[in-house]
Symmetry: C2
Subunit: 375 residues, 2 copies
Amino acid sequence: MNDLLQTIEPVTLMGPGPSCVHSSVLDALAKPTLGHLDPDFIRIMDAIKQQLKTLLHTRNALTLPISGTGSAGMECSFVNLIEKNDPVLILINGVFGMRMQDVATRLGADVDTLEFDWGTPVIVDVVQKQLSKKTYKLVAVVHAETSTGVMNPVSGIGSLLKNKETLFLVDAVTSFGGTDIFMDDWGIDVLYSGTQKCLSCPPGLSPVSFSRAAVDVIEARKTKVPNWYLDLSLIMNYWEGATRAYHHTAPVNMLYGLYQALCLILEEGETRVFERHMKTHLQLVRELDHLGIRMHVDAACRLPMLNAVCIPDGVDDADVRTRLLKQYKIEIGAGLGPLAGKIWRIGLMGHTARPENVEKLIQALKAVLPPLRDR
Amino acid sequence: MNDLLQTIEPVTLMGPGPSCVHSSVLDALAKPTLGHLDPDFIRIMDAIKQQLKTLLHTRNALTLPISGTGSAGMECSFVNLIEKNDPVLILINGVFGMRMQDVATRLGADVDTLEFDWGTPVIVDVVQKQLSKKTYKLVAVVHAETSTGVMNPVSGIGSLLKNKETLFLVDAVTSFGGTDIFMDDWGIDVLYSGTQKCLSCPPGLSPVSFSRAAVDVIEARKTKVPNWYLDLSLIMNYWEGATRAYHHTAPVNMLYGLYQALCLILEEGETRVFERHMKTHLQLVRELDHLGIRMHVDAACRLPMLNAVCIPDGVDDADVRTRLLKQYKIEIGAGLGPLAGKIWRIGLMGHTARPENVEKLIQALKAVLPPLRDR
């Protein structure tokens, strides 16, 4: 193997993703490639669909991983549901809400937005008020806003939309696998995620799930989906049924990895996995507090898996991150957009969410940071 | 690791892709995941760009792998270049030419097509005649038509377009890594490929390359690219320059695999790799002839890496393929569309193109096929 690969040293991935990957998932990636129509591979595809349904608590038949990263899942969700001038409401309190707005606008949707301060959650009452003024085809929100560390009240927003024709679309890129998601009970019609966050599989796939109501909307489209690669009516024919019509060549080895990553979560048990995320999060907050480092987000709506941390005054953002990476082989994330230079994003996602990783980071921070005021 | 993965037995992949993957490429996939902004990973990204430029014989700065399979590369090429009502000419002699037509039509292009019999190549004179009648923004053709086993005269078509404003788009999904491609000399402006054919990396990535003229067209767009995920003006900012602006999380481990697969080709040397493809192809044709099995395509325009073979009369297509897979662990491909049930597609792509694999297949065919007439 070439030098650039031989010399890769493991990094403790504590940024906003990718997260640390269990060795059995890496081993899975390296299993022999099978054909994308091989019955042994189709068995793995079927198992993945079932695993995703179990973990999302949904009965949606159309539940599968898209052959692209989390952002491909976002693209896929909008492009299949939206036709020109469709009224869409997007709830924004961070970069990924803004990305949704960009995606939907490019597709010609009639996009309204409600914006909330970055670092605070979407307010359900404000959404309710807007819904009383106008009828939307689709309302979209990010569950775990990775850019700010805020958890949005998805079940509350879902309640507003129950028994309405409006579809409810949720970005679960960072939340899936790290906290509760009850897709059917919460009235979520469409959900997409990514593999490189709490599922702790390398980046490259995007699990999506579409309700019957969402599939009805796709089937009733007046125009063809203006994206052949992500057209679910075609992709479905490969992932379902007896025929398995070829669409594109599935990323076989990546799917092995996802399957194994989902096996690990199911073996450990959802409840324990979520508790582990919460415990390490609380450990991190406590230890950072001892160092005099404050959290950016109120305790009531903090994400356990992605901790937005205020960079202490007088500390050089990039220098600290570089030293953590070079000297301690720990990666943490920078702030995005208006939060660049103001926060660090410390991920405790999936396999990363272990007490020893928190301890390792805290020791490294103690060594790297200058003495802080006001401890 | 879970049972479904533990029990995967290696298959000799002799279908239309994926092809056999070298063990060092599988090992590369399993190297520890790095962050997508880690300097050590960015070094690998830079190396991949250079490898692709070398193998495509191009100086195009915009040369990189898209985070999706070959069909995502097709989508990416059209969606970045096409705006509503743009006149486009697509040359069709198989499934993948038809797919181009579908992709371009969904994007609102004004699509003209020239159709040629399946199993025969595009005729340059016919294209020339059409180009004298109408000016196109873009002419598109598939280099190696995987559905029929035909090589199209890409350099000949390119000559017609030199010094014209029309962009020349080539699908090199199956040809790249198995036969000559001189992107710049042949006047190709846009090219996409896939990793799972002659590059012998698992499916999941699509190398693309865009000429300066093509980038100028992107930069002069009147409308935003209606596909955020595949918007090259955004993707470029991650793959180029000092800043490396985050767009989506790159499929890190898949890129390790691609890097190693490209290293193998460069180490063996292009000329030797292409000779190996041609030699095993001629060996296969000779051996099949001894069995009384004819080729579907004239010798003059046969693909070395994808052999379309007439299914002998009275032979049960699916039964033979199933027995080859179950009893001999060899995968060959079925025919697509109008060629379903009429041909098999025998891939000799990349790592698969070795004399011992041809021999293994021939022995298995001898055992599986009923005695054939007219040997």
